[in-house]
Subunit: 246 residues, 2 copies
């Protein structure tokens, strides 16, 4: 009898796990399908624009051979990958200084990752590996401490207060608190920062800014566009420091 119960229990657990895996597979396939459908037209439009740009440049400058231009663009793009200032206008304000270094250290330790810079020399890569092997667990440990503290201050204490002093039943107090907390978090961590970002970054719309807040807070990382590409050096340093303190 005990054997039967144990077998049934095991079967049940295996079933739950395969169910979860199946759900996950479906979720991933759904994501893939939606992104393909939504992004392909946008991608094709951008591609056509760039092609048109290159073609009209070649037409206006008959002395330039297509192969030479392609070579230049290829080298410039591969250098840009390593975040070198390619345009003269950029040359002054993108020095690799201590602020950038600190910014890189913080986004790496929080596993957010920066797209705008990656170590280029062998020594820096080796140091980065050793540094992160110690630094990332330490960072996660401190963040866990902080989240435990926040969990008490933000969750347990207010629910207790609501249920004791306002005379609400515990489930009702928890529900009310969850609703209020959701609104507060949305405002303070998403809507307000997104609004401020729209103010300082004229090219971005609200959705860009909201998306930016989301990828930073979920530690997914910035991907293509990062803030402050068109800013003065001083504004950039302020931004980097701000993100660092976040």
């Amino acid at each position: 009898m005990a054997w039967l119960a144990a077998s049934l229990g095991l079967l049940f657990r295996v079933n739950i796990i395969s169910c979860l895996l199946l759900c996950y597979l479906l979720l991933v396939l759904l994501g893939g399908a939606v992104f393909t459908a939504v992004e392909r037209p946008v991608e094709e439009k951008l591609r056509a624009e760039v092609e048109e740009l290159r073609r009209s440049f070649l037409q206006e400058h008959p002395c330039v051979e297509e192969s030479r231009l392609r070579e230049l663009l290829g080298k410039v793009l591969s250098a840009h990958r390593g975040d070198v200032a390619v345009l003269k206008a950029d040359t002054d304000d993108r020095h690799y200084d201590f602020t950038s270094s600190l910014y890189f250290v913080i986004v790496t330790l929080t596993t957010m990752g920066s797209d705008s810079y990656t170590p280029k020399s062998e020594e820096a890569k080796l140091f980065c590996i050793i540094y992160c092997t110690l630094g990332i667990p330490f960072t996660l440990f401190l963040l866990t401490l902080l989240s435990k503290l926040l969990l008490h201050v933000v969750t347990h204490a207010p629910v207790h207060h609501l249920s004791t002093f306002w005379g609400l039943s515990y489930p009702r107090a928890a529900l009310l608190h969850a609703g209020l907390l959701f609104v507060l978090i949305m405002c303070l961590l998403f809507l307000l920062p997104a609004f401020l970002i729209c103010e300082v970054e004229p090219d971005w719309n609200f959705m860009d800014a909201l998306f930016y807040c989301f990828v930073i807070l979920s530690t997914v990382g910035q991907g293509g566009n990062s803030l402050g590409r068109s800013w003065s050096p001083a504004a950039k340093e302020t931004l980097e420091l701000l993100t660092t303190c976040k």
Copy 2:
């Protein structure tokens, strides 16, 4: 007396936390200083190379004005940020298809982040936010399940085996096991993949490949260079699928 003990306990805890925070601050500052020292010369060398490239192109093609070239480069670079194929050679093999979509979904859900693609349309960004809000916790939940399973199979069971059947004392068995596991993990997750990457990617040296393995496994994300930039479409798709299954 109890009050004194409680105060001392609190003081001790506060001291430990401030100690930890101080250590962390020092760690971050050290990282910042080292990266600045190591990377500045490399950055300056790359910058000079690109500047020289642009200058010699202008000299060879007198019909091209500096301002027009700068404009073209600027537009091409900003389009490249959005991952559009700028060079004609690229045009055929970088279609945004279902494989890329799946790859994007997986690297986003594991919070690794892809630098080579970011949603461009409003709909895709909105969908990404909602999708990740559900998908990232689900992914982390499944990964936690997997790590619990692995913890038993890889850690508890062998140590138990060593101490029972080989007659080793428990601490000694744990030490021996930790050593063996470290060597195994280094070989299977770092050295072997790095060696294979060096084979397929002729431009990369061993440190590049090791660094790539590290940033993927730590979910920091690829930053500047990602694998397969110079590959055929088929090889790229294989790579994307492989990374997806990892």
